[in-house]
């Protein structure tokens, strides 16, 4: 294992984050604050409680998840797509490193960045609403697992994409809608029975539910199922990455 290479890639990616500090950190924080203003203050004043939790506090885990999923996918996909686009990928391919080191470097950096963002948003929400974390260890575990899983997914998208448009399609057309419909802003139990069944086909429901449980001990599904689904998704991404590694798909002609 070439750990120096992992470190070099990780540092390179973190430096990229540092250069785009405004876009990477400030923009998500501002948009999250806007959600609090709109959902918390404007609409939230009419919905006092959800599952026995103050509405403003209720949406905090969902908001963190929304950012975490989006940022993990976008960071990781852009991180690996850009060298493909500029051609600097030649260096990664000709270096004495295997695909595993490339994945650890890029996915590690993307996950780190989205975890930092998640924590910043958590801190920001403290300014607006009271937040209680019942199970901090589980909270961090869900945060890390989700960040890693979706950074892996982002990495796969970055490898698959052959244009900037494809890079945007998955986050915008799949992840954002699924997160909004996945109970980021409401409890699944408020939906009519038919839509409750439909909702459980949305994998993001399980992520948000588990994450919210670690805060308020209220959940749409059993937390064990949430954890199981998260790990299953992680496993699927790792399997996909392994296949890319075996075939050199879209990396080597």
């Amino acid at each position: 294992m070439n750990w120096r290479a992992v470190k070099a890639i990780y540092r390179f990616e973190m430096a990229r984050t540092g250069r785009t500090l405004f876009q990477s950190i400030l923009a998500p924080v501002i948009s999250t604050s806007l959600y609090f203003v709109v959902f918390g203050a404007a609409i939230g004043s009419r919905i006092t409680e959800m599952d026995g939790v103050d509405y403003g506090s209720f949406i905090v885990p969902g908001l963190i998840m929304l950012t975490l999923l989006m940022q993990s996918v976008m960071n990781a996909s852009f991180g690996i797509y850009f060298p493909k686009f500029t051609g600097t990928i030649y260096e990664l391919l000709s270096a004495p490193i295997s695909f595993i080191e490339i994945v650890i470097g890029y996915v590690g950096a993307a996950a780190t960045k989205s975890i930092i963002l998640g924590l910043i948003i958590l801190a920001t929400s403290w300014l607006f609403v009271p937040v209680r974390i019942a199970h901090p260890v589980w909270m961090i575990s869900f945060l890390v697992l989700t960040a890693v899983t979706f950074s892996l997914l982002g990495f796969i998208i970055g490898i698959w994409a052959d244009g900037f448009e494809k890079l945007q399609i998955v986050p915008l057309l799949i992840i954002t809608p699924l997160t909004f419909l996945g109970g980021a802003f409401y409890s699944v139990s408020v939906l009519p029975p038919f839509w409750q069944v439909v909702t459980f086909f949305n994998p993001i429901v399980y992520l948000i539910s588990g994450f919210r449980w670690s805060f308020y001990e209220v959940a749409d599904v059993n937390v064990a199922i949430s954890l199981g689904m998260t790990l299953a998704f992680l496993g699927a991404c790792i399997a996909m990455i392994w296949w890319i590694f075996r075939t050199g798909y879209r990396l080597k002609n």
Binding site: R4, A8, R11, F12, T86, G87, T88, S94, P96
Partner: protein
């Protein structure tokens, strides 16, 4: 027996599009030599380099680098190689220093600022070390790519068209660096379109055409074997046509305006026929005011070879 550092055997590559870029290539690169790979555009030069360096998967065949198979033992094989790609592919927003240090890290070497400084100085990049790469000129970017390739102290350096788009002054400086590397024992494989560079720099020449290595030869041998010499005589008085009975026959030609006679001869032949030609000219009363001889350049040899190969393939 020569010490072979890169052994390529039975290498073929067919792209997904169906294009066959390499056909059963066998080639051995000797330790410490400068090997020039020549060939027209699309001949397979870059694909061949790509397979050796690991950026292209071969369809069949094997490559060993310093005895290490470049697939099963790719770490050991790749550690030995530095690659300077043909395209100017750089990270626009990184500084020169950061990008070169990144390359060294990627190859698993511990930090060595003194060594990186030495490379940057030798490539006249030291003053630019804190500049973002996007602010550099094309020639400087090219040197940054060389610095990156040298950052991990490779034993083998691949230079794919290193002087394309680089001005004469810079080119000279670059070749000085290459010569110094060779003197320190680094094996160098280069592709170039400037044949005079291959002629100037290389120990051995390989010619690739349509994905096949059609010739590998010591440069001197190649020049010697295929080299034709031309004797040009500037005549005192113009000739309307070659007089009949003059010595030389088909080897002799007259320039369109009739003031130059050119005699082509083989340097390998025991008798070049020059004495007889001159005697024959005197006999015919043709006088000349000046004469010069010229050896055919590698370019002419190369064009001849590729042409022959294409004609051969057509038949």
């Amino acid at each position: 027996m020569q010490d072979i550092i890169i052994a390529i055997s039975g290498l073929s590559k067919t792209y997904a599009t169906g294009f066959t870029a390499l056909k059963n290539v066998n080639l051995g690169i000797r330790r410490g030599e400068i090997f020039a790979l020549l060939g027209p555009n699309g001949a397979g030069k870059t694909t061949l380099i790509g397979v050796v360096c690991g950026t292209v998967n071969p369809s069949s065949g094997t490559v060993t680098v310093g005895g290490h198979d470049n697939v099963t033992d790719f770490r050991a094989a790749r550690e030995m190689i530095g690659l300077v790609p043909q395209e100017l592919t750089t990270d626009a927003f990184e500084s020169v220093w950061a990008t070169v240090c990144f390359s060294r890290g990627l190859f698993g070497k511990p930090k060595n600022p003194a060594y990186i400084e030495k490379i940057l100085r030798s490539l006249s990049l030291w003053e630019k070390r804190n500049d973002k790469i996007m602010t550099l000129s094309g020639g400087m970017k090219r040197r940054v790519l060389i610095a990156k390739a040298l950052s991990h102290e490779p034993q083998i350096l691949f230079l794919d068209e290193p002087t394309a788009g680089v001005d004469v002054e810079l080119r000279k400086g670059m070749w000085q660096v290459v010569r110094a590397l060779r003197a320190s024992g680094v094996t160098i494989i280069l592709t170039t379109h400037y044949i005079e560079e291959a002629e100037d720099m290389a120990d051995r020449i390989g010619v690739i055409s349509n994905g096949e290595i059609i010739l590998v030869e010591e440069k001197k041998e190649l020049m010697h074997k295929l080299g034709k010499k031309q004797l040009t005589l500037q005549l005192q008085e113009k000739l309307a046509a070659l007089p009949a009975g003059l010595f030389g026959g088909a080897q002799l030609s007259l320039s369109p305006d009739g003031d130059e006679l050119t005699y082509t001869y083989d340097t390998q032949a025991d008798r070049t026929g020059i004495t007889r030609l001159l005697a024959s000219l005197t006999e015919a009363g043709i006088r000349f005011k000046d004469l010069s001889t010229k050896q055919s350049s590698l370019e002419e040899i190369f064009v001849g070879l590729v042409h022959q190969d294409r004609n051969g393939a057509a038949k």
